[in-house]
Amino acid sequence: MKTYGIIARFDTTSDLLHAAEKIRDAGFKDFDCHSPFPVHGLDDAMGLKRTTLGYLIGAMGMTGALFGFGLQTWIHLIEYPMNISGKPFFAYPAYAIITFELMVLFSAFGAVFGMMYYNRIPRLHHPVFYSEKFSAVTSDAFYVSIESSDSKYDDNQTKDFLKKIGGKDIELLQDENE
């Protein structure tokens, strides 16, 4: 069995934010801050870069729009040109609605499934779930987790460090899957 890392609890959002800043300044990279709701300012405090998910959604939206416009053009211009109440075959203004709808549809798929991909979910098993107390993180607790994969990580030193910056209920977690 391998050590996964250490978790420590903090009382308030501002404690969590300050802890994140200190962990970042101490040079840790593989750490995360857990909270019941998104905490404003944590991205900067943790030194996270802006997510690139937006580009993926944009690309998906473009694909959807091109697909929608292309599909309609192909159907009425190439596959089976049919005169219906004298409407032109390449009636591009009339194609605007479905082009728009498919752009929205594809972007939505991009946003949700892209978010899942970036977050590496679904992942039903994770070492943090082995902690009983950690489960309060989806209700009212704020936690910091530092993973053993970090180059600065050391069981005892990291534990002391977390204690020094005000962490409570410090727990060492095992990765039972490995």
Binding site: T12, S35, F37, T51, L53, I84, E101, V112, F129
Partner: protein, 462 residues
């Protein structure tokens, strides 16, 4: 003045929207307490029984419709569009408030929406399902309803992409899918809460499966928040487009009374108006029964009534403008269509609409009425009756007297029209009651954002 004496805006806001001493723990307990309760309340079983009976009426009449065909409805020449399209437009319209609350108010950073958005989004989902039933069944041979889709087939037959009816199919289908994704995305952190609090193994497994292993880490929230923001951003033009496209079903025709450019904005305003009516109706019941008056506060109801006032006035303006344009156009057919609405044989439908949609919301100018819960409850139902009549006026009154008096005729709905309409309530409430029983009816994560403690910079330590 000392710092403690000055209350920040966030604090004032929180005191109104989350009165009493509420904190993160009590919010979680109160909201997740409902799906976690061991005993299902007796009224729930009663309501569920009623909903299931209506659902069986729905299934039965649907079966007969499929067996016999659309001839069982009251539609005939000249009224070829009857209750099916009225009900379709009515249900889709109701759905619009959910998206307005979850998307548009999110973009405008109206955090009072955080308490009611889950509720309203769920209403949207089931309302759109009820709506989608009607285009599905009105085609007569419903086993070939998939011809709506642009699928390659041996007949080389494709839908006519230049027709507003097919735009409508794409719009409503996209709307349903995006609403479902939006609803589920918002639900993920709350499902994780229910998973972590679950007492039995089975519950933990089921909630855990759907929570996808959410850990609430900021590395997850970072992508989550962007995805949520983008969903809100794309749902905003989507929801405005859906009812605009629905209105083009009418507006692109050459029928006097339908062929107008005011239809898209007028339909969208009406949709939001009726949708808020439905949200108020459902919220008033749920907050009372589940004793969640401190989560869905009187302030929320007040704000929703203000939106009903605004959209009700837009709708009223549209009614007036339709008459003005009919007169101004100088077109005798157009003029007759509108005189016939107000003074023809269906005058009662028109004046019921005017009363419910124009007169009733005027009471919302006064705070006393906006904060009077029983009054709000009754008027919110009147709003939806009025909006049903609006579609009745548009569909039936317009069609029953067209260009040639020789073709005029009255429209008589049959028992099956009524049965299928009532049946959709069974479908709606069956779904909605199951939601109330098993899922958190307010967003646990988002309601907490209203508390000033959720902001790490509160208290001025930065």
């Amino acid at each position: 003045m000392s710092e403690a004496a000055i209350k920040s805006r966030a604090q004032q806001n929180a005191e109104e929207l989350l009165p009493g001493n509420q904190n993160f723990t009590t919010i979680t307990d109160d909201i997740s307490g409902v799906p976690e309760a061991k005993n299902t309340p007796i009224w729930w079983w009663l309501a569920f029984g009623l909903a299931l009976s209506l659902l069986s009426v729905f299934v039965g009449s649907l079966g007969y419709l499929i067996y016999e065909g659309t001839g069982i409805w009251g539609i005939n020449s000249p009224v070829g569009w009857g209750w099916a399209i009225i009900n379709f437009v009515w249900w889709v319209g109701i759905g619009h408030a959910g998206t307005l609350i979850s998307a548009i108010l999110h973009l405008f950073r109206q955090n009072w929406r955080n308490a009611i958005n889950r509720f309203a989004e769920t209403m949207t989902l089931f309302a759109v399902i009820c709506a989608l039933v009607f285009p599905g069944i009105h085609v007569g041979r419903i086993w070939v309803a998939y011809w709506f889709l642009p699928l390659p087939n041996q007949m080389a037959m494709w839908p006519n992409m230049r027709s507003p009816l097919i735009w409508d199919f794409f719009a409503v289908f996209t709307y349903f899918t995006v609403s479902l994704l939006f609803w589920y995305t918002g639900l993920i952190p709350d499902l994780a809460t229910l998973r972590d609090r679950a007492k039995t193994k089975l519950k933990k497994k089921i909630y855990g499966f759907f929570a996808l292993g959410w850990r609430g880490g900021n590395r997850q929230w970072q992508h989550y928040e962007l995805a949520y923001l983008v969903l809100a951003g794309i749902s905003t033009p989507l929801v405005l487009s859906v009812h605009s496209v629905v209105s083009s079903d009418f507006a692109t025709s050459v029928i006097p009374g339908w062929h107008t450019t005011i239809f898209p904005p007028y339909f969208v305003a009406g949709a939001i108006y009726s949708g808020f009516g439905m949200v108020v109706t459902l919220t008033v019941i749920a907050r009372k029964i589940y004793k969640l008056e401190h989560i869905f506060t009187i302030d929320h109801l007040d704000k929703m009534a203000q939106i009903m006032l605004l959209t009700g006035c837009i709708v009223g303006y549209s009614y007036a403008m339709e008459f003005f344009i009919a007169w101004y156009s100088g077109n005798p057919f157009e003029q007759y269509a509108f005189i016939n609405r107000a003074l023809g044989p269906y005058w009662w439908g028109y004046w019921a609409m005017i009363f419910c949609n124009v007169v009733v919301p005027q009471f919302y100018w006064f705070e006393k009425f906006r904060r009077h819960v029983p009054f709000l409850f009754i008027t919110s139902i009147l709003v939806n009756i009025g909006m049903w009549f609006e579609r009745f006026v548009i569909v039936v009154i317009t069609l029953h007297r067209d260009f040639l008096p020789g073709a005029w005729s009255m429209y008589h709905p049959t028992i099956w029209d009524v049965a299928i309409y009532l049946g959709t309530f069974g479908l709606f409430f069956t779904g909605f009651l199951l939601f109330l029983r098993f899922l958190p009816m307010a967003s646990i994560a988002e309601v907490k954002l209203v508390l000033p403690e959720s902001d790490p910079h509160h208290g001025g330590d930065h």
